[in-house]
């Protein structure tokens, strides 16, 4: 029998098999992902991880308890997946029906069998050679709804992929990459819309947040993060400076279903360091904006760093929870900012509840009762350079924090680094960098840099405990209901600590640090897995 005949015979046999027998032999697959599944957050059975932050509140707190402080030291690796590409993971993998959906650098993406780490399909985008993406040719993850995956690209497109095959369902252009737009954010599905933003704050773009219809890819609304003439906030930009105002959006925000509000952190104003040509507060750069999820209209905003000149994007991850404040339960948003301050804000109004430094901050004495920073002199970058703490990478940055609601503790990987900031007047050339300055680290001998995992009380901003690293870590965090926190140090170790006191319980040298992303956890065949993205590898761990 030749090959063709064999295939034909097998096909004929399959057709002849009564379909009822097939169905009876197999467990029906779970239905495609619904908006209800996403709303439910991380399920108690650990069967899925469907959004960037695990749930719309971005808590990255798993209800799973199989792995505990007592047994975590017995974790063993199950498998390792290697990307075979240049560049490192900054992604949060999604899990649905025992399949991991993973985006990697250079817009390569995979569906991976969560049991074995074996690839099911691979998608690779042909990228133009003249990309203008700053700060890592990375991607921070998929969003999922129904049988579609959503991914942004370095050439500023939004794609919908078929979750079963990785083939393109639709492809829309967000903006023209050639003049500095790119996109690296993990999209967020809210109802029938997929929410994305654009990077390019170092290229003089005009930032925005977009909503697209999940089925058609049609744009439903756009919110410009730099208001145009006639719009409120445009007066906070001198002259025409709003045109190149930056204010990019490259980290996924939170969504509050009851308030129907999206809350997204907005990037730095352009040019980054030379503020003289953009006098004013420069709204909505360095702000948290709360948008109506149906219309994209601004409900409130809070600007952490008015008229920023240190490249302190507010593109950190906001986390939502309920807290008892002055005898009342209030919905709040918690935010550890690149400028070195930790904030608790009212989620309905944006009003400031708590603001306290979580690292050394030399640029502001405190946050005043009016919500504005009380500035200290000598911190404006100059031609000669001026020293400020924190540095341009910030007290923290885009690596996700986590929150344990049972102990009301906010966790963040903090950096203690100072920098000499320089500024000079830049020339705007479309597609060219437009930063107007640079930073240079203060020498170790003058100001030793280090990092620490810090546990913060969100009702006071006070530190509960810290675990120090030799140098600053850029790892995201994951907590579990069993009292664990997973982190990474800058030297390639993945760490598990007791989330109540910061005691180190387990570590493993991955060969590359977790950078900008967290471990995630879920159940496969009755076993709790911990998935660690580090460098070009994904490794799944479980108890023996």
């Amino acid at each position: 029998m030749n090959v063709t005949t064999k295939i034909f015979a097998a096909f004929a046999l399959l057709l002849a098999t009564p379909s009822g027998v097939l169905v009876a032999q197999e467990t029906p697959p779970p239905p495609p992902v619904t908006t209800q599944d996403i709303l439910a957050g991380l399920p108690s059975d650990g069967s899925s991880w469907l959004t960037f932050g695990g749930d719309y509140a971005n808590q990255r707190h798993s209800p799973l308890t199989q792995i505990t402080p007592e047994n975590v030291a017995r974790l063993v690796p199950l498998w390792t997946f290697q990307t075979g590409t240049l560049g490192n993971f900054e992604t949060t993998s999604l899990l649905h029906d025992n399949v991991l959906y993973v985006t990697g650098p250079l817009n390569v993406a995979w569906a991976i069998d969560a049991r074995t780490g074996r690839q099911i399909w691979r998608y690779r985008r042909e990228l133009p050679s003249d990309l203008t993406a700053c700060c890592g040719l990375v991607n921070r993850g998929f969003a999922i709804l129904g049988d579609k995956l959503f991914m942004v690209t370095l050439d500023a497109h939004l794609l919908a992929l078929d979750a079963r095959t990785g083939s393109i369902v639709w492809d829309v252009t967000l903006e023209n990459y050639a003049v500095g737009y790119a996109s690296t954010i993990a999209p967020l599905v809210v109802k029938d819309k997929v929410i994305v933003g654009v990077a390019g704050g170092e290229y003089g773009i005009r930032g925005f947040i977009d909503a697209y219809n999940v089925e058609s890819g049609e744009r439903v609304w756009r919110f410009y993060t730099v208001p145009g003439p006639g719009e409120p906030g445009n007066e906070t930009w001198a002259g025409d400076s709003w045109r190149t105002g930056g204010a990019s959006v490259w980290v996924t925000g939170a969504y509050d279903p009851e308030l129907n509000l999206l809350m997204y952190g907005i990037g730095n104003p352009g040019p980054d360091y030379f503020g003289e040509i953009r006098e004013g507060d420069n709204l909505y750069s360095n702000s948290l904006v709360a948008l109506d999820a149906d219309t994209g209209r601004l409900r409130w905003h809070y600007q952490f760093t008015p008229h920023d000149v240190h490249d302190w994007d507010a593109t950190e991850v906001p986390i939502l929870t309920d807290l008892p404040i002055a005898g009342q339960t209030r919905r709040v948003v918690m935010f550890a900012n690149r400028n070195g301050f930790y904030y608790t804000l009212d989620a309905a109004t944006g009003r400031l509840i708590v603001a306290k430094p979580f690292v050394e901050t030399t640029w502001a004495k405190e946050i005043g009762t009016d919500g504005r920073p009380v500035l200290l002199p000598g911190n404006v970058p100059t031609e000669e350079g001026s020293v400020t703490c924190p540095d341009l990478t910030g007290g923290t940055n885009f690596w996700p924090p986590s929150f344990d609601p049972s102990t009301r503790t906010f966790f963040v990987n903090a950096r203690e680094v100072c920098m000499t900031f320089f500024a000079w007047e830049p020339e705007y050339i479309p597609g060219d960098r437009f930063t107007g300055g640079a930073g240079q680290r203060v020498p170790e001998s003058e100001s030793p840099a280090y990092g620490a995992l810090r546990a913060i009380d969100p009702m006071t901003g006070e530190r509960k405990w810290e675990f120090r690293y030799l140098s600053p870590s850029t790892a995201g965090l994951l907590t579990t209901a069993s009292g664990l926190i997973f982190s990474g140090d800058p030297d390639g170790n993945v760490l598990a600590l007791d989330s109540r006191n910061g005691r180190l319980l387990w570590h493993y040298q991955m060969g590359a640090p977790l950078h900008g992303t967290s471990p995630t956890t879920y159940m496969v065949d009755g076993k709790q897995h911990v998935l660690v993205p580090a460098g070009t590898t994904l490794t799944a761990w479980a108890l023996p």
Partner: protein
């Protein structure tokens, strides 16, 4: 204009443009090297386009340190192409014409060159042959040149193209403020046996990897030893006038200035006894 005329003119224009480009592509040395006006203009270009990633002093922030590119063997022409074309699959962007002119690129490189080495103003003093003998007796215990010598200090086979005479004199006379990564002194005290001294090659929270004074590379787990103690500053001694006269200093620095990269044709010296 007839279509044929138009075709001919377009073809000519393309040919001329290509020829111009090819001519620039073939330039191997920087036409603006050492031109003070070009260096000032290049500083502006460098700050606008490069400093954000490579730092104002080109020693690296997000991007790598590029002050040693010439000493590592890159040429003006090669660097011109790197700037023009970028480095694919990295963040190093291309700076294509016409947005960035050839003059802009050469001026940026002319400025960068000033950060790499200080231009000598007069012929360097000293006797290199005598300097080589001094190196043998004073330096080769810790430093290697052309695959000969010790390993506790940095390899100096190309020090002449990466450090100016002024920097070398300062390092010898006043010592080194901070050890380079990989050369920080460290002492490890095991649970039993004598302390082990060496330089730190790597470290994380749980372990340290060293080259010890017997030139053995070895890793130690911190919870398996009694202590790991960092040494002060650097093992590099200060060579004051008592130890090295001004004339000897000139000879030694003159010799170091001749070291421009590993040269396999140089016959190995007799083995050094430590």
């Amino acid at each position: 204009m007839s279509p044929m005329h138009s075709f001919v003119l377009t073809t000519m224009a393309c040919t001329l443009a290509t020829a111009g480009l090819a001519a620039q592509d073939r330039l191997e040395t920087n036409p603006f090297a050492g031109d003070s006006a070009a260096i000032v203009a290049g500083m502006g270009q460098f700050r606008q386009r490069c400093a954000d990633c490579h730092g104002t002093d080109a020693r690296g922030v997000r991007g790598p340190d590029i002050t040693q590119v010439w000493s590592s063997g890159r040429t003006d022409g090669g660097l011109f192409q790197t700037v023009r074309r970028g480095v694919s699959n990295t963040e190093m962007p291309a700076f294509p014409a016409p947005r960035t002119s050839d003059r802009d690129v050469w001026q940026m490189l002319a400025y960068l060159r000033t950060l790499a080495t200080a231009a000598p103003t007069e012929p360097p003093p000293g006797d290199a042959e005598h300097g080589a003998l001094l190196f043998e007796s004073e330096c080769a215990g810790c430093h290697r040149v052309n695959a000969e010598g010790g390993r506790l200090g940095p390899d100096l086979s190309r020090i002449g193209s990466s450090r100016s005479r002024e920097v070398l004199v300062a390092r010898l006379r006043t010592g080194v403020d901070e050890s380079r990564p990989g050369f920080q002194p460290v002492t490890i005290t095991p649970e039993s046996g004598p302390a082990i001294r060496g330089v730190k090659k790597n470290e994380d929270l749980f372990s340290v990897q060293i080259l010890d004074t017997r030139q053995r590379i070895q890793g130690y787990e911190k919870d398996q030893v009694r202590s790991v103690v960092d040494g002060p500053r650097s093992l590099m001694p200060v060579f004051g006038p008592q130890r090295l006269s001004d004339a000897d200093l000139n000879d030694l620095v003159r010799y170091l200035g001749t070291l421009r990269g590993f040269d396999p044709s140089v016959p190995p010296r007799p083995p050094v006894v430590f």
